[in-house]
């Protein structure tokens, strides 16, 4: 289990001493002096803090006494303080401070400008000027209180270190670190045990909802497509356990893209076709939705070349839960039934039982494959072999001309795959991708799921990252979308939309927060982006506010030039870049977006319902009074044929969310 990290956090909190109060006061005073002094001659400032030996010794002694009498009077702290005194002497000579020598170039202290940062810069300073003076000073106490680490050591001392963390109260004790994580997890279960590693899910979660942009200030919106579906599965798994998913876990575009849509198919050799419609917004009379639906070509399944699949399976001890390895086995049985006799399958495991457990075997020998699959057991936790390298080796051995090789990594999040440097791992995967072997990642189980890494690996391997929580989901990912997941038809697909300020006053992109690209990256073929598989559909939705609408939120500026209509009814211009598999130069599709273009189909309406649902789960900032009930009505009206029941399931989830939110 991975409670080690929590133990460490608890311990760290316990041994972290409180800052010495006297030095605190002194340092604050000193800093203030320097600050005031700097106001006149900032450039000339060189704060050299020289501290005499004696001053330091006495100071150290004081700090020791202070620490002794400090709350908790931790045994650990006394030791530290005692040692601190001993260590003072050698230290004096190298602690003459010269802040100007700090090397700033490694990490510039002003970071790359992000979308949110732009926003922030524009935050009105008036808040500060108008704020009453007093709250400014009361802050520190209030903020620091909740972190009090003192009592924990005692708790610790009662325990053997070896068993530490396995007990339930520990998850609760180390509250702070995993706050975001906790919210991702379906709350502590009955045993109260916190599933710590889910902090990783949080990693992607923190992008703020895309803000409303004023067209005249920022007319261009750029993002990478996203075909992952993990967010919807996580939302579903939360709702089915009776919890509203945490806002941060909801990625609206992944929810929308979870569903298959049938947009108009591409003609000729084009790998896909964008269809753009502009229609009224269900949740706002004053705005419109620009719906961009991209349909990937579906090559004749009958003509497909034989597949070479290498299952790289995590068999570490944590995989033994019913919703992990057993579910994985069932899933692969399903997949097997969809493969052709001439396709080849191999199984490589990492952790525990090591290495290749099934040599490349034609699907026609089904019994042999099933036996190997059944023999897989979770257990052992020795550091993995170079599982991934071995998997690639096997895959390369299997590939013949014109065949597609793909590694399917199945894991609960422990990427113990033998390469220890993340960048080396990414490079490795990217290199292999260029040589024709792709990588998809399937996540199993909650509790150890490393969403961010899963996505990073799959993105670099041109694959899909999916999260499998039920057999139904396994069917969807592995069977219904088999062709899409296994045959990429276009890589690095980026979308850029420029809105016409004479027509559109404001716009916002719904979802895709984690996929934002810089404007200049659109034409930079070196910048990686999402991939589209055969038959995939991708949907992106903008909410736009036409000039003159009473739904405009940002009033006109007095001194800015007002955009003048140029008589065109183009409300924007759509551009899309993609690379055909194996190519390095991108191709461009572009077309204008006209006001009132197209007719919102049932598919589009359903995607609106899901987009609305996702936004509600994220707080519904821009939805006004639009509710789950409205989402249900809209979704029900647009369910269409729904052969797999996905849409009906979504309506059920909406109902659950509605109940839970009351």
């Amino acid at each position: 289990m991975t409670d080690d990290l929590e133990d460490l956090k608890t311990l760290m909190d316990a041994v972290t001493p409180a800052a010495d109060a006297q030095r605190r006061a002194k340092n604050l005073e000193q800093a203030q002096k320097i600050f005031t002094g700097a106001q006149g001659s900032r450039d000339a400032m060189r704060p050299t803090v020289k501290r005499g030996l004696m001053a330091r010794v006495t100071e150290g002694a004081k700090s020791m006494l202070n620490a002794l009498s400090h709350r908790g009077a931790l045994t650990a702290t006394t030791a530290i303080a005692a040692v601190a005194l001993v260590m003072i002497v050698p230290q004096t000579r190298d602690y003459v401070v010269n802040p100007s020598s700090w090397s700033e170039n490694r990490r510039a202290e002003t970071p790359v400008q992000t979308a949110e940062a732009d926003q922030e810069v524009e935050v009105d300073n008036s808040l500060l000027q108008d704020a009453p003076a007093e709250p400014v000073y009361e802050a520190p106490v209030v903020i620091e209180e909740p972190v009090a680490p003192a009592p924990r050591v005692r708790e610790l001392s009662k325990r053997q270190m070896n068993g530490l963390g396995a007990t339930a109260d520990f998850g609760v004790a180390s509250d702070g670190l995993y706050e975001g994580a906790a919210s991702i997890a379906p709350l502590p279960g009955p045993d109260g045990l916190r599933l710590a590693p889910e902090q990783n899910t949080e990693a992607f979660a923190n992008a703020e909802t895309n803000p409303l942009k004023v067209t005249s200030e920022d007319p261009v919106s750029t993002f990478s497509i996203d075909v992952d579906t993990a967010s919807y599965s996580i939302v579903r798994s939360s709702l089915l356990r009776g919890q509203l998913p945490p806002k941060e876990a909801v990625r609206v575009e992944e929810m929308v893209n979870y569903f298959p849509y049938s947009y108009p198919a591409p003609e000729g050799d084009a790998p896909f076709r964008p269809t753009i419609t502009v229609s009224p917004t269900p949740w706002n009379d004053g705005t419109q939705l620009v719906h961009i639906g991209i349909q990937g070509a579906l090559p004749q399944i009958e003509d497909r070349p034989p597949l070479n699949l290498v299952f790289l399976i995590d068999t570490s001890g944590s995989m033994q839960d019913a919703n992990k390895l057993p579910l994985l086995k069932q899933s692969f049985r399903l997949l097997l039934s969809e493969l052709r006799p001439e396709d080849q399958v191999s199984i490589v495991t990492y952790a525990g039982s090591a290495g290749q457990v099934l040599e490349p075997t034609a699907v026609s020998e089904k019994t042999k494959i099933l036996t190997a699959l059944d023999r897989l057991e979770a257990g052992g936790s020795t550091a993995g072999q170079a599982g991934l390298q071995q998997a690639y080796q096997v895959a390369e051995g299997m590939a013949e001309d014109g065949e597609v090789s793909r590694i399917i990594l199945a894991t609960d999040g422990d990427f113990n795959v033998g390469l220890s440097d993340p960048d080396a791992l990414k490079d490795f995967i990217a290199r292999k991708r260029d040589s024709g072997t792709f990588l998809s990642v399937l996540g199993f189980g909650r509790g150890n799921l490393d969403d961010a890494t899963m996505q990073a690996l799959a993105q670099n391997g041109n694959g899909q990252a999916a999260y499998i929580d039920t057999l139904g989901e396994a069917r969807k990912v592995l069977v219904d979308q088999l062709t899409g997941a296994l045959f990429p038809i276009a890589n690095d697909v980026k979308i850029q939309v420029e809105f016409n300020p004479a027509q559109i006053a404001e716009y916002r992109l719904i979802g895709y927060e984690t996929r934002a690209l810089r404007r200049e990256d659109f034409s930079n073929d070196k910048v990686d982006a999402g991939d589209i598989g055969a038959g995939h559909t991708v949907t992106a939705i903008y909410e736009v506010t036409p000039v003159g609408s009473d739904a405009i939120r940002n009033g006109p500026l007095r001194y800015a030039e007002q955009p003048v209509s140029d008589g065109s009814d183009e409300i924007g211009f759509f551009k899309m870049r993609y690379k055909l598999p194996g190519e390095t130069e991108s191709q461009l599709i572009e077309e204008p977006i006209l006001s009132g273009q197209g007719q919102a189909t049932g598919d589009a309406q359903f995607s609106y319902a899901i987009a609305g649902f996702g936004q509600l789960l994220r707080g519904g900032e821009y939805l006004g009074g639009w509710s789950y009930e409205d989402a249900i009505v809209l979704a029900n009206g647009a369910k269409g044929e729904d052969p797999f029941g996905y849409r009906a399931e979504a309506v059920t989830l909406m109902r659950l969310a509605e109940t839970l939110s009351q």
């Binding site: 080690d4 990290l5 460490l8 956090k9 760290m12 041994v15 800052a19 030095r23 340092n27 604050l28 800093a31 203030q32 600050f35 005031t36 106001q39 900032r42 803090v49 045994t75 650990a76 006394t78 030791a79 040692v83 230290q91 190298d94 602690y95 802040p99 700090w102 990490r107 202290e109 970071p111 400008q113 940062a117 810069v121 935050v123 300073n125 500060l128 003076a133 400014v136 000073y137 009361e138 802050a139 520190p140 209030v142 903020i143 909740p146 050591v153 610790l156 270190m161 530490l164 706050e179 990783n200 990693a203 992607f204 923190n206 993340p422 960048d423 490393d450 961010a452 890494t453 996505q455």
Partner: protein, 189 residues
């Protein structure tokens, strides 16, 4: 306790607003900003250095340097993100200075430091922490020290460290792996 926090925060001026005012020369804003974050800086310093005395010194250095640095704050990141980066950089500089004086005892590498804890069980616990921290390479140590901050997200840690979010996530799973290996080693007869 935690649930109270956001409400209290809302009544106060935000870090970013204070920092922007400080960057423009507002001494009161600077004072309250530093007072607000002093303990945070100290705790991170401790986790980065592993020693109370070094943490005190590092904090002092940072306090002395902040007046100059704050002028460069442009509100392109959260103030705390910016501040953590200052701390991490300062710790790295301090380490480099120490290395150049070829001192034997450096931070978490100093085994003897906490051994004197009187209660044996606590000593064992602290000893484990020592070994755990020491067993990690420097970049993982820094990443861990940073992510142990309450409410630190991978995204923010990534911004502080100037690496990608994926790298932080990767490092965290690497850390978990190493901790587990360490534990296994201990359990082995």
């Amino acid at each position: 306790m935690r649930s109270v926090l956001p409400i209290v925060m809302r009544m106060t001026t935000s870090d970013e607003d204070l920092a922007k005012a400080a960057a423009k020369g507002d001494a009161d804003a600077f004072a309250s900003l530093l007072a607000r974050h002093y303990d945070r800086v100290f705790r991170l310093s401790f986790r980065l250095t592993g020693r109370a005395d070094q943490a005190e010194d590092l904090t002092q250095d940072i306090c002395a340097a902040l007046p100059a640095k704050i002028a460069g704050f442009r509100a392109q990141a959260k103030f705390t993100t910016w501040l953590y980066r200052v701390v991490v950089n300062a710790a790295e500089d301090a380490r480099r200075r120490q290395a150049s004086h070829s001192r034997a005892a450096v931070g978490w590498g100093d085994v003897e430091q906490m051994r004197r804890a009187e209660a044996a069980e606590t000593a064992e616990a602290v000893d484990w922490l020592q070994r755990a921290m020491r067993s990690l390479p420097q970049d993982l140590q820094d990443t861990l020290a940073l992510t142990l901050e309450d409410e630190m997200t991978h995204a923010e840690a990534a911004e502080v460290l100037g690496v990608s979010e994926g790298t932080v996530s990767w490092r965290m799973s690497d850390i978990r792996k190493r901790l587990r290996a360490l534990r296994q080693e201990e359990l082995a007869p």
